[in-house]
Each structure stands twice: as C-alpha cells, then as structure tokens.
C-alpha cells in the first residue's frame, strides 16, 4: 500500500517513502525479510562492503549504554564479489533500490569495491563510509580531513556514473567543512551521522567492555547530536541529506526533516524492534493526516535555509 505523499526522489534512489534501514544494521536484508516485505521500504542500505572478505573484530563486539549502544563489529563482510554474486541478487527480488555502503583502507580499495558493484542493476547509489571508527583503516582518516575526503570522493566519482553519497563522521570539530569539501569534489548527497566514538568500562575486570576497547555509539542517545549536525550542514549546502542517528519513531523522522534531512535511515532501532521500519512508515502516513500536510517534503522546507 503506497502512500504517494511519502514518496521522495533522491539522486539514484526513487523511494516509496523516506525510510531505509541504515548500513550495518540490516546486513543484506535476508533476516528482516522474514518479518516483512522489503518492497515496503524506501531503500535498503547494505552492510559496509570492502574489496575482500573481512572477518571483523574479536568479541564482545557490542555494549549497552544509556539509551544507546556501542558497536565494534569491525566491518565483517564477505567482500565485494560475494556481495555482488550472493547478496544483491537476493535484494533484487524486491522492488527497492539499494544504497551500497562502501568501506576501505585505501582509495584504491574503495575504487575496487565500486568497480565491482557499479553495474549491478539494483544498486541505485553508493554511500562512502569514510567514518567507520571501528577498524584502524576503516576510512576514518578520510572522514576527519576535508582534503582527504574530497580526494576520495573525486576518485570514486571518476569510476562510476551512479550517484555517490558521502557518509560523514560526527567525530569532528567542524562537520560543515567536510560537507563542503566533498560537495565541491562532486558528491551527490550526504549521509549523517555515523557513530560517535565511545567506550564502556567493566568495573569487574577493570578493562574496556569491548574487545576492541572503543566502539561506535548509536541509538537515541545520539539523536540531538545528529539533529545539530544535519541542521548545520543544511545551512551550507543544498545537497540531499540522508539523516540518521537514534531514529525510533515517526516523530523522530519529522524532527530530522525539520532539521534538514530529505530521507532518513534507521539503524539501532531495528534491533529493539525488528518491525521498526515498516511501523515508522505507517505512522508517518498517519502523521501527515494529523498535521494536515500534503507531502512529506513540505515538512522539510522549514529547515531549508540555503
């Protein structure tokens, strides 16, 4: 049941609604396909993909924090070819565009992944993960340095005709500087925020809870930080923004759109409620009625100041 008031069109992603599961919180869709029809989603962001197989970090890989969680999965994934051959065909069974999240240690690795995936039909666009805090070479150096971010963006733009979204790290002094740098390097859109770097200690052992020591903070706890960064970035650019960070409800989505997001992604909330995405989509329709809004995009205007 498609609600035309919810449709949004972003570069490469023609979405039935502005809601997609966030990268790394939905694997490649198989698990959640047991719960509902993935065609209901606006898009699917797949797990961060590297050129070869990665086995990730030691366990424990997650820890709980107040209204949030830390993860240090370490980019475990089967590698670009396996994703192309075994995972993306599964998602092609559904009428939903894929946002292919790409990670790497070097610009060459990013390029290799994109070369492997660029011709896959259901890949609508790429999302450059330049902000994974959980592996030493997870791209975080690209995420904190405007110049490195811009160079990487320009390099991958050269090898794909599909739109490229750059996923920004919140662990920076000035997120707008990175946003502007990747915009001028040709980014077609922005995703924010990735996780905040955090840590928990175990008072029983006197050691960090996570085997990797530090991890990425996600969940409702980070929502105010995400809203602030989206708002700040929206002041300086008209690029489409996929907003994320702590979204659990349709009201949260509305907050993100007021702040300046064009679409949103739901990460951690999938874990507490496997039906998070479809129920947010349903609730959004009801909210539009209640607020007497004709199209979801109209909410966003208030945040748009450029």
């Amino acid at each position: 049941m498609i609600d035309p008031r919810l449709q949004v069109k972003l570069p490469g992603l023609t979405m039935k609604n502005p809601v997609m599961p966030a990268s790394g919180c939905f694997a490649f869709g198989r698990e959640y396909a047991q719960f509902y029809d993935l065609s209901e989603l606006g898009a699917v962001a797949i797990k961060g993909t590297t050129s070869g197989l990665r086995s990730g970090n030691a366990t424990p890989r997650v820890a709980e924090t107040p209204s949030g969680m830390l993860n240090a999965i370490g980019l475990q994934n089967p590698g670009a070819e396996a994703v192309r051959d075994a995972e993306l065909p599964f998602l092609a069974n559904y009428d939903v565009p894929v946002l292919a999240n790409v990670s790497g240690s070097t610009p060459e690795e990013y390029e290799e992944v994109i070369r492997t995936l660029t011709d896959v039909e259901n890949v609508g666009a790429f999302e450059l993960n330049i902000s994974c805090p959980n592996v030493k070479e997870g791209g975080i150096q690209f995420g904190t340095d405007p110049e490195a971010a811009a160079e990487l963006t320009a390099a991958v733009k050269r090898i794909t005709s599909k739109p490229v979204y750059v996923k920004l790290s919140p662990n920076v002094t000035d997120v707008t500087a990175i946003a502007l740098a990747v915009e001028s390097a040709g980014a077609d859109g922005l995703s924010l925020i990735n996780t905040l770097l955090g840590m928990r200690m175990d008072w029983q052992t006197g050691k960090p809870v996570l085997a990797n020591e530090k991890g990425g903070l996600s969940g409702p706890a980070v929502k105010p930080v995400a809203l602030r960064m989206i708002y700040d970035v929206r002041q300086v650019t008209r690029l489409p923004i996929i907003g994320m960070g702590g979204i659990q409800t349709a009201e949260d989505v509305i907050e993100f759109m007021i702040a300046g997001a064009d679409a949103i992604a739901v990460g951690t909330a999938n874990f507490s409620n496997p039906f998070a995405c479809p129920s947010i989509i349903q609730e959004l329709s009801k909210w539009l009625e209640r607020l007497d809004i004709e199209h979801i995009g109209d909410i966003r205007q208030q945040g748009e100041t450029v």
Binding site: A27, E31, V62, Q76, N270, F271, S272, P274
Partner: protein, 259 residues
C-alpha cells in the same frame, strides 16, 4: 519466529537472585527446539538492547513457556520486578540449532553438564530425552547451596541421574562439574553442555574422545538476535570463518567452533 507482546503469567525467585518466568502467548506454538532462546525487551526505554534468555520448558497445553534467569545487571533486575499480567515484548524463538535430542538411541547414554544459568536449556533437553525414553546423567554446578535450582525437576524426569556440585561444597559434591566428570569412568555417547566459557573449555578437553558426540550452547553479547548485526560471532574451530551464535547456533558441535 515472531515479535509478540507476551503476558507474564508467573515470575518468582526460585534460588538466590534466580527467577523463573512463565510467559504466555502465541509464540509458544513456534517453540520446538531445546537450546533456542527468546530475545526480551526490558521495560524502561533507556535499555536499547534486548536480553537473550534460553527456553527452559514449554507447556503447549497451557500455552506457556518458562525461562530461568539470574539477576545480573540492570536488565535482569528490571525483569525481576515484572508482575503477573505485565506485558513484555518478546522476539523468538531464536536460534536455528538446538541440542540434537532426537539423535540418541534408546541404548545411548547422554551426559548433560550445566553451570549456573547454563542449566535452563539443559532442562528442556533433558525433558525431551525423557520423553524419548533415553537415559541420561545430569551434572549441575552452582556457586553455593542457595544458588541451586531445578534439582528436583531434573530428578523427577524418568531415566535421569542427577549430581549437584557446589564450588564451596555447601551442597552436593564440592568442586566444579569438571571435578565431578573426572571421577567418572563411563564414557557417554552424547554430551550436551551449557555454562560459562571457562567450564566449556575445560569440558572440551576432558571429554574430547572419539566415542563422544559433544554439543555446546554458547552465549555472546547480542544486538539484533536474528543474524543481521554480526555482534554475536564465534570463530569456527579451523579459524577459517565465523558463526553467528544467534542464527547459526546457539548450539554447536564442540568440534565446529573455537571456544
């Protein structure tokens, strides 16, 4: 597998800080394997991760299932406060593998070894073995007398032989389940176990012999519980790849995984 608001039918302390929780709901009809678990949302809003708890028994007629959990941190503390009639969001049953209770022949002897909160899934397995008229020995380890639970329930099952060990010797034999195992001369055809990682590692060494088919139910911190987040992995024994405990397990052959 479904996500359901289940009703708390009973929730009572049965040993020191250890609670028996009986839940009713349609989800009960889906439960079929000893070793699978439920992923329970803790009331409150500030705890974003669900708590995985093994299924200890099922009563299909009453439409209920029972869990036994220990109060460890904030989540189980809040579960302990739930009252009959309260609703809990429960996802499950989760896990694709249970203990292979269908496999032992009537003449096979099965050994079940559990420590602390590793005991509950073994009770479900023992119950199924008893139903199939397989005889089995249960060795359960607890810290101290006050922590002992389900001894009577195990003894009540036909074909069971039960041995309790306590670390401080305040009840049953003194020592660990490993100490108890070392004194045994018989070699079981099957070994089902669940408990702290240290106990399982010791068990793997003690019981590693050609004639025994050993199975272990593993625990790890979980995110999604359904195989999507890759939080709960363990390495395969040959270190060539990973298994997801929530989805590929939680029960594995000893020889499949690296403890």
């Amino acid at each position: 597998m479904r996500n359901e608001m289940m009703t708390v039918a009973k929730n009572q302390e049965i040993a020191a800080n250890t609670y028996e929780l009986t839940l009713s709901g349609a989800l009960v009809n889906d439960i079929s394997k000893a070793g699978t678990f439920l992923h329970i949302e803790v009331p409150g809003g500030d705890l974003v991760l669900r708590r995985p708890i093994s299924i200890a028994s099922v009563d299909p007629v009453a439409g209920t299932c029972t869990l036994v959990y220990k109060e460890m941190g904030e989540g189980t503390k809040r579960l302990a406060r739930c009252r009959p009639g309260d609703l809990l969001a429960v996802l499950g049953p989760l896990g694709n593998t249970g203990f292979p209770v269908e496999s032992p022949q009537a003449e096979d002897h099965v050994l079940l070894i559990g420590g602390g909160v590793g005991v509950p899934p073994l009770y479900y397995a023992a119950y199924e073995l008893a139903k199939r008229k397989v005889t089995f020995t249960v060795i359960l380890g607890f810290q101290t007398k006050a922590a002992v639970f389900y001894e009577e329930q195990f003894r009540y099952l036909p074909g069971s032989e039960v041995q309790i060990m306590t670390d401080d010797g305040s009840y049953g034999g003194q020592g660990t389940v490993i100490d108890a195992l070392k004194t045994r001369t018989d070699r079981p055809a099957w070994l089902f176990s669940c408990g702290p990682r240290g106990m399982l590692r010791a068990l793997e060494i003690v019981s590693a012999q050609p004639g025994t088919k050993g199975y272990v139910s593993l625990e790890e911190r979980m995110g999604c519980g359904v195989g999507a987040c890759l939080a709960c992995v363990c390495e395969t024994a040959d270190r060539s790849s990973y298994r997801k405990i929530c989805q590929d397990g939680p029960v594995f052959a000893f020889k499949e995984v690296l403890l």
